[in-house]
């Protein structure tokens, strides 16, 4: 079920309005703050990384699986021209992290908190982010590892991001 949709310029004003609406939508349905925390990260990723002059897309969907509420957050945004190579490098870095987490999930051996603490204490940062900490935070809250990839559209590269969050572990 679609709970919220945004198609517009990722300006601070637009995204603040979106975030306010999403808080009403999410908190109204679910007191568990994990979902809204994930929403905050995803919306702020748009503000940090989306091309401010082109349309970005955001979807929040909800469903119930075996009585457990689940929320899927998706965004699609054009990447700023000057950021493309940096984003590609970040995706490569992310890919190794995703590989690590997927294999660790398969092994049942992933220590999310250790990974989070390592990222938090790593000291590495990017001009607009925490060098993987946001992703690990989302992954920690997610049902499966978040998906992220560059889509080669006719009018330029776009970043696709998707994460599904459950309200109970």
């Amino acid at each position: 079920m679609g709970l919220a949709t945004f198609d517009g310029k990722p300006s601070t004003c637009n995204l603040d309005t979106l975030l306010k609406h999403l808080e009403e939508v999410v908190v109204q349905r679910m007191e568990d703050r994990r979902v809204f925390r994930a929403v905050i990260e995803c919306v702020q990723n748009l503000e940090r990384h989306a091309d401010p002059l082109r349309t970005a897309h955001f979807r929040l969907m909800g469903r119930s699986l075996n009585g457990e509420p689940r929320f899927k957050i998706r965004s699609l945004n054009p990447v700023r021209e000057g950021d493309v190579s940096q984003v590609r490098r970040w995706i490569q870095q992310y890919a190794s992290l995703q590989e690590l987490t997927v294999s660790a999930i398969d092994d049942g051996a992933l220590d999310w908190r250790l990974l989070y603490r390592q990222c938090l204490d790593s000291g590495s940062r990017t001009p607009r982010g925490g060098a993987g900490l946001g992703w690990v935070s989302l992954a920690k809250a997610a049902v499966t590892p978040p998906q992220i990839r560059i889509i080669h559209a006719a009018n330029g590269p776009k970043l696709f991001f998707s994460v599904e969050v459950a309200c109970t572990r």
Binding site: R37, R113, L120, G130
Partner: protein
């Protein structure tokens, strides 16, 4: 020790140093787009604390984004040099993630943490 008072906004917490009980209180939500800029005056203020200064840092945050989480770690690390420091980490009884966040800081920095559970129904 100079005064410190930053008023809250919809995206940033109130941060105030209460000189009478030597308490630094952070409350509200911390989701600024640029957390480094927001926390700079707090980090500068923390820089002036001497090792003998007794200070309680009361953290009562509802939400904080990942860039704020790095800045909070910077704050705790700057205050780590103080021998008489305690962090009081408040969390709602039904907010396990916030408790874990405090425990993560407790694990990383060499500062005593006291966890204070709040009854959300109270």
């Amino acid at each position: 020790m100079g005064p410190l008072h930053i008023a809250s906004t919809v995206k940033t917490p109130e941060i105030v140093f209460q000189a009478e009980d030597q308490r630094l209180v952070l409350s509200g939500r911390s989701i600024p787009e640029n957390a480094v800029d927001f926390y700079r005056p707090v980090l500068d203020w923390a820089q002036s604390i001497g090792p003998d200064f007794k200070l309680t840092v009361q953290v009562q945050l509802e939400y904080f984004n990942t860039s704020s989480s790095k800045c909070l770690l910077d704050l705790f690390k700057r205050l780590e040099q103080s021998d008489a420091l305690e962090v009081q980490w408040y969390f709602d009884a039904d907010d396990e993630d916030m408790l874990e966040a405090g425990e993560d800081y407790d694990h990383i920095v060499n500062v005593p943490f006291k966890f204070v559970e709040i009854d959300p129904e109270a």
